[in-house]
Structures are given as structure tokens and as C-alpha cells.
């Protein structure tokens, strides 16, 4: 009987051990499965994070290297970035229309793009205290808001007001979120920069004629602080050779880089060398503080101002539009009424010739006009898309002998009213000079 009990006990023990073994084995299997699922999840998460970062980097690259340009201004942008996508941003904002110009325009173009634009443009630089894809998305929205507003408003203060309101309303989704920004509007026809601040580090403006650099200060709170916040506007008149240097601050503490000192030290260098040296110092500073940060460094150099550059369809109605634009520039330069009348007559003649004779009145063809100042004279070059002609055969010192001739007086009038004129490009371009007295 005892041996039966013993066997029963043994059997029970064996069964228990087997049960325990299998249950542990099942648990291990469950654990293994759970682990492998977790690993799969981590892999997918990392993959998504990489994709998000790539997307965020692409967003950033897109608006940093946009194809916008501003006639007469050279723009250089440096972007220093570690692997994290930061909240710093910079963008040029084109102005397709300007309500002031449209009000003065003789015949509204009726199209979405004014052919006379591109001699005015804006830019915005700023920084946000967020990073990654949320930063890239927020930056895209802020820039889109600025671009939309800039289409109908040139006032930097008003543009920042609208951007401020957008950020204020977005803060409900992102607490403790703030943005600094500096917005500038350059009108090359007047040679002026108007600007407003939203708590951003002031850019440095170097005047070549005065050989002096200073900060472009203006009061203005960080964006998103208050709804309907006002931003003061200031302006500075630009000249050829002037420079504007700006960046997104490296350090979050109050102590900032002495950008004025850095720029002044290197101001005699060309823009590339200047930015190289400033960038080097900024990177050294970041490393010495043990910070890993991103920053954008931007340099604007005024190549020529006041300045106008236009490419318009070869249609007769463009004559008056372009003439008024050039007259506007001449008036900014202080040309008096007599000079303005002479300029108006000359411009009409050379534009007519370019459209009628040079381009066959074909609106699918273009004529190009460049206006600039040289040695206290206004110069205008008009180029048509024709093959040119043998202008040496013309005698524009005289009017046609047949007084009843219906053509042939245009260049005679131009010669009479300008100080200098000459043909180039085989006769397909003409440059006139009018002294500003």
C-alpha cells in the first residue's frame, strides 16, 4: 500500500513539475512574443522618427533655399544645423503686387502678377523654442501667413501684427511656445528698408558711405504674447555697398553674441569672408559653452540702389506703366520737372521702338528694362528680343526731310532730350543717360 502511495506521490510531483515547466515555457514564449512585438514597435517608431526628421529637414531646406530674389540685392544664407531640426527660420518673401503702385498704375493689369514687381521684397528671420517636425510645421504656417499678408500690405508693423495674432491663437495648442522675428521690407526703387521687431536680436546695418555699423533697433515684444499687439516701424535709407547681417541667436540666456563687434571686426571683407568669419566665431562660442544649437546667418549686400529691373510683355500698354515706374525712381532721386518731362518723352520713344520695331508688337515676346544710378545720372537700358538692326545707318541728329513722313522722329527726340544715348547688342538694346540736376 505504501508503494502505491509513493508512486501516486511521485506521479503527482512529476505532473506538477511538468505543469510548471510548460506554464513557464508558455510564459517565456509570451515574453518572447511580447519582446519581439516591442522590438518591432521600436523599429517602426524609429523609422517614423527618421522619416519625420527627414521631412522636417526637407521643409527647412525648401524655404531656406527658395528661389525668390530681390533685384539689386545679393542674399547669402548660412545654415548651421546639428541632427535636430531647430526652430530658427529665414525666408525672402516676394511681393507680386504693391497696393501703392497699383493705385498709381495707369491701367490695372488684371492679372495675379504685376510685371513691375520684384524691385520690392520682404524678408523675415526668427526663432521658435520648439524643434523637430512640430517646429518645421509651425515655421511653414508662420511663413505662409507672412507671405499671404505681404501680398496686400507692405507695412512691416502690420505684417508682424497678423503673424503675431496667428501665433497667439496657435498657442492654445502648444503651451509655453514663443517666437521671435524681425521683418524687413526693401523698396529698391526708393532705396529704403522699413522694418519691425518681434523681440528678435537686432540685425547689424553697415553704411558704406558713413563707414559705420549699428544695430537696427526697434521696440517690439516676442510674438504671441498679446493679441492685436502693435509693432513700431522704422526705416533706413540704403546705398550701394551697404550690408545687413542678421542671425538667429545661439544662446537662450540674456547674454548674447556681440554680433556688432563681430561684424565690425570683419566689415572690410567681402560678404563671403565676412560670413565665414562670423560663422566660425559663432560655432566656437557654441562649442565653448557646450551647446549643441542650430543657427541661421544671413547677409544682404546692396549691389545697386535705387534700382529697377523689369521684364514685361512687348505690348503697347506696358509703355505707360514702365514709364511711370522709371519716373517714380527719378523723382526719388530728386530729378526736377524739366528733367522728368525730358525723361518721359525719351522713355516713350525707346519703349515704343522696342515693342513695335524690336518685338513686332508681339505680347508673347518680352522687353527688358534696367534702371540704375551712376555718377549722379539716371541710366535706363531697354532691350528687345529682336535681332537688332544697323543703327549706324540712322542719322538721328536730323528730323525727316519730308515733314509729312509719319515715322522717323523718335530717336531724334531722344537725342535731343537726353544727355547721352548709345546702342548695344547689335542694335537690340539702347541705353539713355539723364543727369539728375
Amino acid at each position: 500500500m505504501y508503494h502505491i502511495l509513493g508512486y501516486t506521490f511521485l506521479a503527482a510531483a512529476l505532473i506538477l513539475m511538468a505543469a510548471l515547466f510548460f506554464s513557464k515555457s508558455k510564459e517565456n514564449k509570451k515574453l518572447l512574443i511580447k519582446n519581439s512585438l516591442l522590438e518591432e514597435e521600436i523599429r517602426n517608431f524609429t523609422k517614423k522618427l527618421d522619416e519625420d526628421l527627414r521631412l522636417a529637414h526637407d521643409f527647412k531646406r525648401q524655404y531656406l533655399t527658395n528661389n525668390h530674389s530681390l533685384h539689386g540685392v545679393d542674399v547669402s544664407v548660412r545654415h548651421f544645423s546639428d541632427s535636430v531640426v531647430g526652430g530658427e527660420f529665414f525666408s525672402l518673401i516676394p511681393l507680386d503686387k504693391n497696393p501703392d503702385r497699383c493705385r498709381r498704375c495707369i491701367e490695372p493689369c488684371g492679372s495675379s502678377i504685376c510685371h513691375l514687381a520684384k524691385n520690392e521684397g520682404s524678408f523675415i528671420i526668427g526663432d521658435m523654442n520648439i524643434s523637430g517636425l512640430p517646429a518645421a510645421l509651425m515655421i511653414a504656417q508662420v511663413l505662409s501667413t507672412a507671405e499671404q499678408v505681404a501680398g496686400s500690405i507692405t507695412s512691416p508693423g502690420k505684417v508682424l501684427e497678423r503673424v503675431n495674432n496667428f501665433i497667439y491663437k496657435s498657442k492654445s495648442q502648444q503651451h509655453n511656445f514663443y517666437t521671435t522675428a524681425f521683418y524687413g521690407y526693401i523698396d529698391q526703387r526708393k532705396g529704403v528698408l522699413k522694418y519691425s521687431h518681434g523681440g528678435h536680436e537686432p540685425p547689424i546695418y553697415y553704411s558704406r558711405s558713413a563707414n559705420k555699423a549699428r544695430r537696427l533697433e526697434a521696440p517690439g515684444l516676442v510674438l504671441g504674447t498679446n493679441l492685436n499687439q502693435r509693432f513700431e516701424e522704422k526705416e533706413v535709407y540704403l546705398s550701394q555697398g551697404d550690408k545687413i547681417i542678421m542671425y538667429t541667436p545661439l544662446l537662450e540666456e540674456k547674454e548674447t553674441v556681440n554680433l556688432l563687434g563681430l561684424v565690425t571686426k570683419n566689415i572690410q571683407e567681402n560678404m563671403n569672408s565676412l560670413l565665414d568669419n562670423v560663422e566660425k566665431e559663432l560655432k566656437n562660442l557654441a562649442q565653448s559653452k557646450g551647446h549643441k544649437r542650430n543657427f541661421i546667418l544671413v547677409g544682404l549686400e546692396i549691389v545697386n540702389t535705387p534700382f529697377g529691373q523689369y521684364k514685361v510683355p512687348a505690348h503697347l500698354f506696358m509703355i505707360s506703366k514702365v514709364t511711370e515706374e522709371v519716373i517714380f525712381i527719378a523723382q526719388q532721386l530728386g530729378m526736377r520737372n524739366k528733367g522728368i518731362i525730358a525723361l518721359r518723352i525719351s522713355l516713350n520713344e525707346i519703349l515704343s521702338n522696342a515693342i513695335i520695331h524690336g518685338s513686332g508688337k508681339d505680347p508673347n515676346k518680352s522687353i527688358e528694362i534696367v534702371v540704375w544710378i551712376e555718377d549722379k545720372s539716371l541710366k535706363v537700358k531697354v532691350k528687345d528680343s529682336g535681332k537688332g538692326f544697323d543703327y549706324k545707318k540712322l542719322d538721328f541728329e536730323k528730323i525727316p526731310e519730308d515733314l509729312l513722313a509719319e515715322e522717323g522722329r523718335g530717336l531724334f527726340l531722344v537725342k535731343h532730350y537726353v544727355d547721352e544715348m548709345h546702342f548695344d547688342d547689335g542694335g537690340s538694346s539702347i541705353t539713355i543717360t539723364k543727369v539728375i540736376d
Binding site: L316, T323, S352, I355, I399, L403, L404
Partner: protein, 114 residues
């Protein structure tokens, strides 16, 4: 640019408002041709409100003058602003057109041709 046509003592008075460039000349050309084609032989072009015109506008006026002269008519120009008068003198078109300081003097001249 706008063109207004009035009649006074048998003469058609075309008053032009604004600047006349190559584009706007087309309106002036159409107005002149319409009046001449209707048979008018006495036309006054009043340029009192024209601050500027170019060589295309001069060509338009010359073309109309030749057309009306072929039909035995005449065109007079009146009330030239100084800047525009200078252009007529420079191009010697003041020898081609009869230019008067007022519409009334031009009408008297055109009447005397009858």
C-alpha cells in the same frame, strides 16, 4: 486717354484728355478716321488737356492731315501746352499744322477757307 467730339459752327472739335503715347494714339486715330470718313472737312484738335505726346501721336495727326487734305479739308491744332508746343517746334510740325491758341480763332480760320 479720353476723346470728346463736339460740333461748333460747322467744325468738328476733338478734345483730347490725358497723355498720348503709342498705345493711346490708336483711340485718337480711330476718332479722327471716323470723323473724316463721315465727310467732315473742318477739324480742330484741342490739346489743352494733353501734357505729353510722342512721335507716334505726331504720326497719327500727320496721317489724318494727309487724309483730310486729299478730300479738300483741313485740321487745326489748338491750345498747345508749352511742353507739347516745344515738340511741334523741334520737329518743325509747326510749319505743317495751323496752330492756334483758341478754338474760336481756329474756327475763324477754317471758315475763311470756304
Amino acid at each position: 486717354m479720353e476723346v470728346k467730339v463736339d460740333k461748333m459752327k460747322g467744325a468738328e472739335i476733338i478734345t483730347v484728355f490725358g497723355k498720348i503715347d503709342a498705345y493711346q494714339s490708336i483711340k485718337l486715330k480711330d476718332a479722327l478716321n471716323e470723323i473724316i470718313d463721315k465727310g467732315s472737312k473742318k477739324i480742330i484738335v484741342n490739346l489743352h488737356d494733353v501734357s505729353f505726346l510722342d512721335s507716334t501721336a505726331l504720326g497719327t495727326l500727320i496721317s489724318a492731315l494727309k487724309k483730310i487734305k486729299n478730300k479738300g479739308g483741313e485740321i487745326c491744332i489748338t491750345k498747345l501746352q508749352p511742353g507739347v508746343g516745344e515738340i511741334f517746334e523741334l520737329t518743325r510740325l509747326n510749319k505743317v499744322f495751323k496752330i492756334f491758341p483758341s478754338n474760336e480763332e481756329a474756327i475763324d480760320y477754317l471758315t475763311s477757307l470756304e
